[in-house]
Protein backbone atom coordinates (compact mmCIF):
# COMPACT_ATOMS: atom_id res chain seq x y z
CA UNK A 1 0.00 0.00 0.00
CA UNK A 2 1.17 3.53 -0.74
CA UNK A 3 2.47 5.27 2.41
CA UNK A 4 0.03 8.18 1.98
CA UNK A 5 -2.80 5.64 1.98
CA UNK A 6 -1.27 4.13 5.10
CA UNK A 7 -1.40 7.55 6.79
CA UNK A 8 -5.02 8.00 5.72
CA UNK A 9 -5.86 4.53 6.97
CA UNK A 10 -4.48 5.35 10.41
CA UNK A 11 -6.92 8.24 10.69
CA UNK A 12 -9.98 6.16 9.86
CA UNK A 13 -11.91 4.59 12.72
CA UNK A 14 -13.07 0.97 12.40
CA UNK A 15 -16.68 0.45 11.29
CA UNK A 16 -17.03 4.13 10.39
CA UNK A 17 -18.81 5.65 7.40
CA UNK A 18 -16.44 6.96 4.73
CA UNK A 19 -17.19 9.04 1.64
CA UNK A 20 -14.37 9.19 -0.93
CA UNK A 21 -14.63 12.16 -3.31
CA UNK A 22 -12.94 11.33 -6.60
CA UNK A 23 -12.43 7.74 -5.52
CA UNK A 24 -10.75 6.65 -8.77
CA UNK A 25 -10.61 2.89 -9.17
CA UNK A 26 -11.63 2.47 -5.53
CA UNK A 27 -8.33 1.00 -4.31
CA UNK A 28 -8.31 3.08 -1.11
CA UNK A 29 -11.97 2.35 -0.33
CA UNK A 30 -11.49 -1.36 -1.01
CA UNK A 31 -8.56 -1.35 1.37
CA UNK A 32 -10.46 0.50 4.08
CA UNK A 33 -13.35 -1.91 3.67
CA UNK A 34 -11.00 -4.84 4.18
CA UNK A 35 -8.88 -3.49 7.04
CA UNK A 36 -11.31 -1.20 8.86
CA UNK A 37 -14.68 -2.66 7.86
CA UNK A 38 -15.85 0.80 6.84
CA UNK A 39 -19.18 1.46 5.20
CA UNK A 40 -17.92 3.30 2.17
CA UNK A 41 -19.21 5.20 -0.83
CA UNK A 42 -17.19 6.75 -3.63
CA UNK A 43 -17.94 9.54 -6.08
CA UNK A 44 -16.31 9.42 -9.52
CA UNK A 45 -16.90 10.66 -13.06
CA UNK A 46 -14.55 8.45 -15.08
CA UNK A 47 -16.65 5.59 -16.50
CA UNK A 48 -13.83 3.01 -16.60
CA UNK A 49 -12.92 3.73 -12.99
CA UNK A 50 -16.59 3.52 -11.98
CA UNK A 51 -16.75 0.09 -13.61
CA UNK A 52 -13.68 -1.07 -11.65
CA UNK A 53 -15.35 0.09 -8.43
CA UNK A 54 -18.52 -1.82 -9.31
CA UNK A 55 -16.48 -4.96 -9.99
CA UNK A 56 -14.79 -4.54 -6.63
CA UNK A 57 -18.22 -4.53 -4.99
CA UNK A 58 -17.96 -0.91 -3.87
CA UNK A 59 -20.78 1.61 -3.76
CA UNK A 60 -19.96 4.25 -6.33
CA UNK A 61 -22.03 7.18 -7.52
CA UNK A 62 -21.41 8.95 -10.80
CA UNK A 63 -21.29 12.56 -9.72
CA UNK A 64 -19.32 15.66 -10.63
CA UNK A 65 -17.82 17.23 -7.51
CA UNK A 66 -18.23 20.69 -8.99
CA UNK A 67 -21.99 20.18 -8.58
CA UNK A 68 -21.45 19.93 -4.81
CA UNK A 69 -22.75 17.32 -2.38
CA UNK A 70 -26.36 18.52 -2.34
CA UNK A 71 -27.71 14.95 -2.29
CA UNK A 72 -25.88 14.03 0.93
CA UNK A 73 -27.40 14.68 4.33
CA UNK A 74 -25.56 16.74 6.95
CA UNK A 75 -23.50 14.53 9.29
CA UNK A 76 -24.17 11.40 7.24
CA UNK A 77 -20.49 10.31 7.21
CA UNK A 78 -17.73 10.11 9.81
CA UNK A 79 -14.93 10.95 7.36
CA UNK A 80 -14.99 12.50 3.91
CA UNK A 81 -11.85 11.95 1.80
CA UNK A 82 -10.53 14.18 -0.95
CA UNK A 83 -7.29 12.66 -2.24
CA UNK A 84 -5.34 14.47 -4.98
CA UNK A 85 -8.50 16.08 -6.34
CA UNK A 86 -8.62 19.50 -4.64
CA UNK A 87 -6.53 21.16 -7.35
CA UNK A 88 -8.88 20.00 -10.12
CA UNK A 89 -12.04 21.54 -8.65
CA UNK A 90 -13.76 24.70 -9.83
CA UNK A 91 -14.51 25.80 -6.27
CA UNK A 92 -12.19 23.94 -3.88
CA UNK A 93 -13.12 26.19 -0.95
CA UNK A 94 -16.82 25.44 -1.36
CA UNK A 95 -16.22 21.72 -1.56
CA UNK A 96 -14.20 21.85 1.67
CA UNK A 97 -17.24 23.46 3.33
CA UNK A 98 -19.46 20.74 1.90
CA UNK A 99 -17.06 18.01 3.06
CA UNK A 100 -17.27 19.23 6.63
CA UNK A 101 -21.03 19.56 6.45
CA UNK A 102 -21.55 15.98 5.24
CA UNK A 103 -18.79 14.50 7.40
CA UNK A 104 -17.59 15.12 10.93
CA UNK A 105 -14.03 15.03 9.68
CA UNK A 106 -12.21 15.45 6.41
CA UNK A 107 -8.95 14.19 4.95
CA UNK A 108 -7.47 16.26 2.12
CA UNK A 109 -4.33 15.48 0.13
CA UNK A 110 -2.90 17.66 -2.63
CA UNK A 111 0.35 18.35 -4.51
CA UNK A 112 2.27 21.10 -2.71
CA UNK A 113 3.08 23.83 -5.19
CA UNK A 114 5.30 25.48 -2.58
CA UNK A 115 7.83 22.67 -2.96
CA UNK A 116 11.36 23.91 -3.75
CA UNK A 117 11.38 22.19 -7.14
CA UNK A 118 8.39 24.22 -8.34
CA UNK A 119 9.98 27.38 -6.94
CA UNK A 120 13.31 26.73 -8.66
CA UNK A 121 11.59 25.82 -11.93
CA UNK A 122 9.50 28.98 -11.93
CA UNK A 123 12.28 31.31 -10.81
CA UNK A 124 14.99 29.91 -13.10
CA UNK A 125 12.96 29.17 -16.23
CA UNK A 126 10.23 31.71 -15.68
CA UNK A 127 7.67 29.19 -16.85
CA UNK A 128 4.92 27.18 -15.15
CA UNK A 129 6.47 24.06 -13.63
CA UNK A 130 6.07 20.85 -15.62
CA UNK A 131 7.45 17.66 -14.10
CA UNK A 132 6.78 13.97 -13.82
CA UNK A 133 4.57 14.89 -10.89
CA UNK A 134 2.70 17.68 -12.70
CA UNK A 135 3.02 16.55 -16.31
CA UNK A 136 0.54 18.92 -17.95
CA UNK A 137 1.12 22.15 -19.81
CA UNK A 138 -0.68 25.12 -18.26
CA UNK A 139 -3.32 25.19 -21.00
CA UNK A 140 -4.46 21.57 -20.90
CA UNK A 141 -4.10 20.66 -17.25
CA UNK A 142 -6.99 19.33 -15.17
CA UNK A 143 -5.24 20.98 -12.22
CA UNK A 144 -6.69 24.46 -12.22
CA UNK A 145 -6.25 25.45 -8.57
CA UNK A 146 -2.78 24.72 -7.31
CA UNK A 147 -1.96 25.75 -3.76
CA UNK A 148 0.83 25.45 -1.21
CA UNK A 149 0.90 24.13 2.34
CA UNK A 150 0.84 27.70 3.63
CA UNK A 151 -2.09 28.56 1.37
CA UNK A 152 -4.09 25.66 2.74
CA UNK A 153 -3.19 26.59 6.32
CA UNK A 154 -4.46 30.10 5.59
CA UNK A 155 -7.70 28.78 4.09
CA UNK A 156 -8.33 26.64 7.17
CA UNK A 157 -7.70 29.64 9.42
CA UNK A 158 -10.02 31.83 7.36
CA UNK A 159 -12.75 29.20 7.48
CA UNK A 160 -12.17 28.44 11.14
CA UNK A 161 -11.37 24.83 10.29
CA UNK A 162 -9.49 22.79 12.85
CA UNK A 163 -6.35 21.03 11.59
CA UNK A 164 -6.18 17.81 13.59
CA UNK A 165 -3.02 16.61 11.90
CA UNK A 166 -0.88 17.72 9.00
CA UNK A 167 1.88 15.76 7.33
CA UNK A 168 3.85 16.02 4.10
CA UNK A 169 5.55 13.32 2.06
CA UNK A 170 7.62 13.11 -1.10
CA UNK A 171 6.63 11.55 -4.41
CA UNK A 172 7.52 8.12 -3.08
CA UNK A 173 5.03 8.99 -0.35
CA UNK A 174 7.70 8.87 2.32
CA UNK A 175 8.24 11.44 5.04
CA UNK A 176 11.39 12.64 6.80
CA UNK A 177 12.51 14.85 9.67
CA UNK A 178 13.59 17.68 7.34
CA UNK A 179 10.20 17.56 5.65
CA UNK A 180 8.52 17.87 9.03
CA UNK A 181 10.65 20.93 9.77
CA UNK A 182 10.13 22.60 6.39
CA UNK A 183 6.88 21.14 5.07
CA UNK A 184 6.11 23.88 2.57
CA UNK A 185 9.59 23.85 1.07
CA UNK A 186 10.31 20.12 1.04
CA UNK A 187 6.93 18.39 1.03
CA UNK A 188 5.66 17.22 -2.34
CA UNK A 189 2.30 15.89 -1.21
CA UNK A 190 0.41 17.43 1.70
CA UNK A 191 -1.99 15.36 3.80
CA UNK A 192 -4.42 17.11 6.15
CA UNK A 193 -6.84 15.75 8.72
CA UNK A 194 -9.41 18.46 9.35
CA UNK A 195 -12.59 19.04 11.36
CA UNK A 196 -15.15 21.71 12.10
CA UNK A 197 -14.29 24.00 15.00
Amino acid sequence: MRPDQEIIQRWIEPDSRVLDLGCGDGSLLANLKLTKKVKGTGLEIDSDKIQTCVERGLNVIEQNLDAGLWNFQTDSFDTVLLAQTLQALSHPDQLIDEMLRVGRRGIVTFPNFGNWKSRVYLSSKGRMPVSKFMPHAWYDTPNIHFCTVRDFDALCKEKNIRILERTVVDLKHEGSLSMRLLPNLLGEIAIYHIARS
Binding site: K39, T41, S47, Q51, V54, E55, N59, E62, S76
Partner: protein, 100 residues
Protein backbone atom coordinates in the same frame (compact mmCIF):
# COMPACT_ATOMS: atom_id res chain seq x y z
CA UNK B 1 -51.46 0.31 -17.44
CA UNK B 2 -50.13 3.80 -18.17
CA UNK B 3 -52.39 5.18 -15.46
CA UNK B 4 -51.14 2.63 -12.95
CA UNK B 5 -47.60 3.63 -13.84
CA UNK B 6 -48.37 7.33 -13.40
CA UNK B 7 -50.18 6.91 -10.10
CA UNK B 8 -47.72 4.48 -8.54
CA UNK B 9 -46.28 6.14 -5.47
CA UNK B 10 -44.41 3.93 -2.98
CA UNK B 11 -44.28 6.76 -0.41
CA UNK B 12 -48.08 6.86 0.15
CA UNK B 13 -47.97 4.29 2.95
CA UNK B 14 -45.03 6.08 4.58
CA UNK B 15 -46.42 9.56 5.18
CA UNK B 16 -45.30 10.61 1.68
CA UNK B 17 -41.67 10.20 2.75
CA UNK B 18 -40.01 8.09 0.06
CA UNK B 19 -36.85 7.56 2.12
CA UNK B 20 -38.97 5.78 4.78
CA UNK B 21 -40.31 3.45 2.09
CA UNK B 22 -36.71 2.50 1.28
CA UNK B 23 -35.58 2.15 4.90
CA UNK B 24 -36.57 -1.51 5.38
CA UNK B 25 -34.46 -4.47 4.21
CA UNK B 26 -30.74 -4.65 3.67
CA UNK B 27 -30.25 -5.06 -0.08
CA UNK B 28 -27.91 -2.89 -2.13
CA UNK B 29 -29.18 -0.74 -4.99
CA UNK B 30 -27.87 -0.24 -8.52
CA UNK B 31 -29.42 2.61 -10.47
CA UNK B 32 -28.62 3.22 -14.11
CA UNK B 33 -30.12 6.12 -16.04
CA UNK B 34 -29.84 6.90 -19.74
CA UNK B 35 -29.10 10.38 -21.03
CA UNK B 36 -31.97 10.50 -23.56
CA UNK B 37 -34.67 8.78 -21.49
CA UNK B 38 -37.44 11.34 -20.92
CA UNK B 39 -39.77 8.79 -19.29
CA UNK B 40 -37.36 8.28 -16.40
CA UNK B 41 -34.80 11.06 -16.92
CA UNK B 42 -31.44 11.17 -15.07
CA UNK B 43 -32.71 13.97 -12.81
CA UNK B 44 -35.37 11.66 -11.37
CA UNK B 45 -32.79 8.91 -10.87
CA UNK B 46 -30.56 11.38 -9.03
CA UNK B 47 -33.58 12.16 -6.83
CA UNK B 48 -33.85 8.44 -6.10
CA UNK B 49 -30.14 8.30 -5.25
CA UNK B 50 -30.62 11.20 -2.83
CA UNK B 51 -33.59 9.44 -1.23
CA UNK B 52 -31.72 6.14 -0.91
CA UNK B 53 -28.75 7.92 0.68
CA UNK B 54 -31.13 9.67 3.08
CA UNK B 55 -32.54 6.26 3.98
CA UNK B 56 -28.98 5.13 4.73
CA UNK B 57 -28.97 2.56 1.95
CA UNK B 58 -26.01 1.37 -0.09
CA UNK B 59 -26.35 2.68 -3.61
CA UNK B 60 -24.42 2.68 -6.87
CA UNK B 61 -25.42 5.04 -9.64
CA UNK B 62 -24.40 5.35 -13.30
CA UNK B 63 -25.46 7.82 -15.94
CA UNK B 64 -25.07 6.14 -19.30
CA UNK B 65 -24.80 8.10 -22.55
CA UNK B 66 -27.25 6.56 -25.00
CA UNK B 67 -29.28 7.84 -27.94
CA UNK B 68 -32.07 5.24 -27.82
CA UNK B 69 -34.24 7.17 -25.35
CA UNK B 70 -36.35 5.20 -22.89
CA UNK B 71 -35.76 1.93 -24.75
CA UNK B 72 -32.02 2.14 -24.08
CA UNK B 73 -32.50 -0.23 -21.16
CA UNK B 74 -33.41 -2.97 -23.68
CA UNK B 75 -30.20 -2.49 -25.66
CA UNK B 76 -26.88 -4.23 -25.06
CA UNK B 77 -25.02 -0.98 -24.28
CA UNK B 78 -21.58 -2.09 -23.01
CA UNK B 79 -21.35 0.31 -20.07
CA UNK B 80 -24.80 -0.67 -18.85
CA UNK B 81 -24.32 -4.41 -19.38
CA UNK B 82 -20.86 -4.43 -17.76
CA UNK B 83 -22.11 -2.58 -14.70
CA UNK B 84 -25.06 -4.97 -14.35
CA UNK B 85 -22.72 -7.93 -14.65
CA UNK B 86 -20.20 -6.55 -12.13
CA UNK B 87 -22.94 -5.67 -9.66
CA UNK B 88 -24.73 -9.03 -9.93
CA UNK B 89 -21.45 -10.98 -9.74
CA UNK B 90 -20.75 -9.30 -6.42
CA UNK B 91 -24.30 -9.84 -5.17
CA UNK B 92 -23.89 -13.54 -5.99
CA UNK B 93 -20.49 -13.71 -4.25
CA UNK B 94 -21.97 -12.14 -1.14
CA UNK B 95 -24.84 -14.62 -1.17
CA UNK B 96 -22.47 -17.57 -1.45
CA UNK B 97 -20.25 -16.17 1.32
CA UNK B 98 -23.24 -15.61 3.58
CA UNK B 99 -24.44 -19.15 2.97
CA UNK B 100 -21.11 -20.79 3.74
Amino acid sequence: MTKALDYFDPSVDYGNDLSKAFAGGDCKFLLVSFSTDWRFPPERSRELVETLLKAGREVTYLEVEADQGHDAFLMPIPRYINAMRGFLDNAYKELVNDAS
